[in-house]
Amino acid sequence: MNSILANSLRFIGLVLIQVFVINQIDLGFLNSYISLSVYVSFLLTFSTKLPKYITMLVALGLGLCIDMFLNTEGIHASSCLFLALVRPLLLRRIQTTNPLENVQELTVYTEDIQKYALYCVMLLGAFFFWLFLLEEFSILALPLILLKTILSTIFTTLLIIVGQYLLYRKPKN
């Protein structure tokens, strides 16, 4: 019950931060190359104990919320779904050495930083690739899509990891 409340608050908080803070940042000429999607952090840290079908439904809801605010016609919802599809595959790889069954949320503190950064980069890479592919909707624009994907992934990963160091409390063991 408590975790549902905490997750709902985090959901609303991240959507508001994304729409009213992050999206107001003006990066000058980089605006068309970098899309800072910090709200995806919600799906990265989402509990691994819950069934993956629930994760996917939550991803759909989150994506639709962002689409509603940014007038982006469903591309964020679609990309979030893709991220939710890739995540279990990636988690299976990570989970081999460190059993994550009893972890409520996946943050920089529950994981080793290098492994967590890799996890973020791979998931966000998949997310942005799908997003820009849908946005451009042309296979001819592939070099541009890849450039945008790489730049956006790097900056969003940095922002998310720094944000987690600032906002999450270190669990006491």
């Binding site: 009213f20 003006d26 996917m56 639709l64 509603m68 016609e73 779904l81 599809l85």
Partner: protein, 277 residues
């Protein structure tokens, strides 16, 4: 049969993903047609309300600029007032009401959300169907044209700004009769647009004013679009490419007017009846 079922069982997560993707696609499909219920845009009530709250705070930051623009507009209107003109001859100045009937109405509105960083920039206004705002109405401000209404809900409407790669309308130079297409290319900066399709033998100079043609009934004829900054011949054709600077500053738009064309249904029915023949 059993193998098939086993196979489906194996990929059930993937199937779930595909079904949800189709659901999103269905929503977008509904969203993209004009008359259908609007779910995914910022004229939806919740996001519209939130943007209005944000605007309630942020509007104070622009007050100085807004005041200057409004007083400038007031001065201009005062100059044009009837009483400022001395009567030359009674026959010349008298306006016979019978010869004029109003075609365009202007309704004030406030921009509560504005984006300039994307390829498809969209504004949200605080007027909706309760104030008779309909899709395909033009939006202008004191300086020039801003865009046109795409979607409306009860109290909000979303507007396709000129800074949108999908935006296209016919425009013409102030002193000439040639018509070109106004559009915003992805390479254009904010407050910069391109007019294509004007033949090279029409001489267009730097500093010329570009105005709307008024043929589609969205904007009145002669609304200012911008000023020519550069012209280059288009490679491989007899046309020229004209770069203009928009009259409206898209970084700072707050007060706008929604244009209602009172002859819109008449114009549409004439065009439609021509198509049916």
């Amino acid at each position: 049969m059993k193998n098939l079922l086993l196979f489906f069982n194996k990929i059930r997560f993937l199937l779930f993903f595909i079904v949800l993707q189709m659901f999103v696609f269905f929503l977008v499909q509904r969203n993209s047609s004009f008359q259908q219920a609007q779910i995914l845009n910022s004229s939806a009530s919740v996001s519209g309300w939130l943007f209005q709250q944000k605007n309630a705070v942020f509007q104070y930051f622009n007050l100085r600029k807004e005041n200057e623009a409004l007083s400038e507009q007031n001065a201009q209107l005062k100059q044009e007032a009837f009483f400022n003109y001395s009567i030359v001859s009674k026959d010349l100045i008298q306006i016979d009401k019978q010869y004029y009937s109003q075609q365009y109405l202007f309704q004030p509105a406030v921009v509560i959300q504005n984006s300039t960083s994307r390829e498809k920039n969209i504004l949200t206004l605080d007027v909706g169907t309760t104030k008779q705002t309909q899709p395909e109405m033009g939006v202008v401000n004191a300086n020039g044209i801003v865009g046109f209404v795409r979607n409306v809900s009860d109290h909000y409407s979303s507007v396709m700004s000129l800074m949108n790669v999908e935006f296209k309308i016919p425009v013409k130079p102030l002193n000439d009769s040639c018509v070109g297409t106004l559009q915003w290319l992805p390479t254009d900066k904010i407050n910069e647009m391109t007019v294509k399709g004007i033949p090279s033998y029409f001489s267009i100079n730097k500093g010329d004013t570009i105005i709307t043609q008024g043929g589609s009934g969205i904007f009145p004829q002669g609304e200012i679009v911008g000023v020519v900054t550069k012209k280059t011949p288009e490679p491989g054709s007899k046309n020229q490419v004209v770069k203009i600077k928009t009259a409206v500053d898209f970084y700072a738009i707050h007060h706008v007017f929604v244009v209602t064309n009172l002859y819109k249904t008449e114009l549409d029915s004439v065009i439609q009846s021509f198509g049916q023949q």
